[in-house]
């Protein structure tokens, strides 16, 4: 049996990097937008959410315009003699753009849930905005941020359309699991396709289930239920 495992490694590499990038950019954007009350709020929010509802081919097309030989980003990287199109960087980029709205939307909702009075209380105690963000906002919004990260991870892992357009399907280089499934199926190799389907199914399901349980635990913790229980336990 000569089963090629390279799609798994590529998928994991691409997904982890994309999730890390989305985590940082998405969190910063969500924080900024949660506090923004300007005239362009509705329009900006729509633009940031757009990749969620656009067909992946449209996203792919747009990215090609940006990172192609004549695109602004493509031109910039050509200075260093780096070609992004059809490299695994392009796969990371596609996964990032497509999963960004999930991180942004979910994290923003979590930030907006944080009681404004609690933040104001911290301000009157003389605590800087930066410290406030990391010590109050992020911990209080953490269940939501964790959910946002899980969703982004799952979406990155499943990304197919835009990735195919900008990164292609070079075996051992840019062929991720979803792409491997597509080409195995179209080539009649149903056995390989099924193995990949089962693998991706297992990863996605276990990540989502773990997240659900963890979130419930966090909420219980916040409401003081678990703490009460453990304290009663230690007393008795």
């Amino acid at each position: 049996m000569n089963f090629d495992f390279s799609p798994a490694l590529i998928s994991i590499k691409v997904t982890l990097i994309a999730t890390a990038v989305v985590f940082c950019i998405g969190l910063a954007t969500a924080w900024r937008m949660a506090n923004y009350r300007g005239r362009w709020q509705g329009l900006l929010d729509s633009i940031l959410t757009l990749p969620l509802v656009l067909p992946p081919t449209v996203v792919g097309f747009g990215l090609l315009l940006l990172i192609g030989k004549r695109g602004p980003i493509g031109c910039f990287f050509r200075i260093f003699d780096v070609n992004i199109v059809f490299s695994w960087y392009a796969a990371v980029l596609a996964a990032t753009v497509v999963s960004f709205p999930l991180m942004y939307k979910t994290a923003k909702a979590a930030f907006e849930q944080v009681d404004a009075n609690i933040l104001d209380a911290a301000r009157t105690l003389g605590v800087s905005e930066w410290e406030l963000f990391w010590k109050i906002t992020v911990p209080l919004a953490w269940p939501g941020i964790a959910a946002a990260t899980t969703l982004s991870f799952a979406r990155s892992l499943g990304e197919f359309g835009a990735t195919l357009m900008v990164a292609g399907s070079i075996p051992g280089k840019t062929a991720t699991i979803p792409i491997a499934i597509y080409f195995a199926t179209s080539g009649g190799d149903m056995r390989s396709a099924l193995i990949w389907v089962i693998i991706i199914f297992a990863i996605s399901l276990s990540v989502m289930v773990a997240n659900n349980y963890w979130e419930r635990y966090q909420i219980a913790l916040r409401q003081g239920r678990l703490l009460n229980k453990s304290m009663k336990g230690s007393k008795g």
């Binding site: 009075n117 209380a121 301000r123 003389g126 304290m231």
Partner: protein, 356 residues
């Protein structure tokens, strides 16, 4: 220790336009909900930016729109106690109190936290989380957290609005004892008349963003200067009057009665008021300001009872009344048993006059 406030801010419903100053004292800010009370506190604390004005705290200008000065809430050293206490739910009581003490070194911080825990009698709660402790304990933790950073002024935003009645009295007493020791101005926002009276010496009445009155509490309740001030301080008998001579007025809305007043009548036309406990039952109508009355309606409270009275003629409906009269409960039956009309007197010394 002083605070000077002069603020203007456009709001959706009305404009905030407030000017007052105070020293080392407790001031209640009394107003209906939506009068701009919380907005005023937040503007002083720097949590909201006013459109223009000036705020000076102990000689330090913390806001001045003309000079483009706007100190951040972090720089102002203003203690703010929120309605729901706004404790950090993910931190223990001790961590909550230590939160504003980042500048101190570890040992000094520990000592300061311990000092606060002892001062507010919450040492045994130090490792608990806010959701695990009672409302009264939360108030103490919130005060301890605020006082730990040694503020120059305290702003309290309806601190008792979320607690049960039986706990309220106890918390008010605790708060009062604490505020007496505090050296600095304390502004205390409430919509509860009793609370304002109990906790402060002077009361600022806020109505639709404007200062209606700022007076010694006894004066304010005896003679509110404006109609809105009278309503907010709980006066229910208010009507327009016309002056007849220096000590007599006619009140059309109370059945065209003539009233004698001990205080000289200030204006040709204006508003007159009398509190519902300044009506007295009398035996005959021949006394000064005595009138025959019929009962139009009644309303019950646990310890007091309100009669809605019509002067001069039997009422056509429960809504057809001139005056509210409050009596203690035990007298209720004796009054109800009388065949109407009976007689009441409007205390000539208790009449007060207001502008619109």
């Amino acid at each position: 220790m002083s605070l000077e406030v002069d603020l203007r801010k456009k709001l959706a419903e009305f404009n905030l336009d407030i000017r007052f100053s105070c020293g080392e004292e407790i001031i209640s800010i009394l107003g209906a909900s939506g009068a701009g009370k919380s907005m005023l506190l937040k503007s002083i604390a720097g949590l909201v930016r006013p459109d223009e004005g000036r705020v000076v705290l102990n000689g330090r200008t913390i806001y001045d729109s003309a000079a483009n000065v706007f100190a951040t809430p972090q720089q102002r050293r203003i203690g703010f106690l929120f309605q729901n206490y706004a404790l950090f739910p993910h931190l223990t009581v001790a961590q909550n109190i230590a939160f504003g003490l980042g500048r101190l070194d570890k040992e000094a911080r520990r000592r300061r936290v311990m000092e606060m825990l002892e001062k507010f009698h919450i040492v045994e709660l130090k490792d608990r989380y806010p959701p695990q402790i009672s409302g009264g304990q939360q108030q103490r933790v919130a005060l301890a957290r605020t006082m730990a950073v040694d503020p120059e002024i305290l702003l309290l935003d309806e601190p008792f609005s979320a607690v049960d009645v039986y706990l309220k009295n106890q918390l008010q007493k605790e708060m009062f004892d604490f505020l007496k020791q505090f050296s600095g101005p304390a502004l205390f926002v409430t919509h509860d008349i009793d609370e304002a009276y109990r906790l402060s010496d002077r009361i600022l009445v806020l109505h639709r963003g404007k200062v209606e009155a700022m007076e010694d509490k006894a004066n304010l309740f005896r003679r509110p200067p404006t109609l809105a001030g009278a309503r907010i301080t709980g006066c229910r008998n208010l009507a327009a009057y016309t002056r007849l001579n220096e000590y007599e007025i006619e009140v059309e809305d109370w059945g065209n009665i003539r009233l004698h007043s001990e205080q000289a009548v200030p204006l040709e036309r204006g508003f007159v008021g009398i509190r519902s406990h300044h009506l007295y039952q009398i035996e005959t109508a021949d006394q000064v300001n005595g009138f025959p009355v019929w009962i139009a309606d009644t309303s019950d409270a646990p310890f007091r009872m309100t009669f809605y009275l019509k002067i001069g003629a039997p009422p056509a409906s429960p809504e057809d009344y001139h005056l509210c009269w409050e009596v203690a409960r035990p007298r209720r039956q004796a009054i109800l048993d009388r065949t109407p009309p009976f007689y009441v007197q409007l205390d000539p010394a208790a009449l007060f006059y207001m502008n619109d």
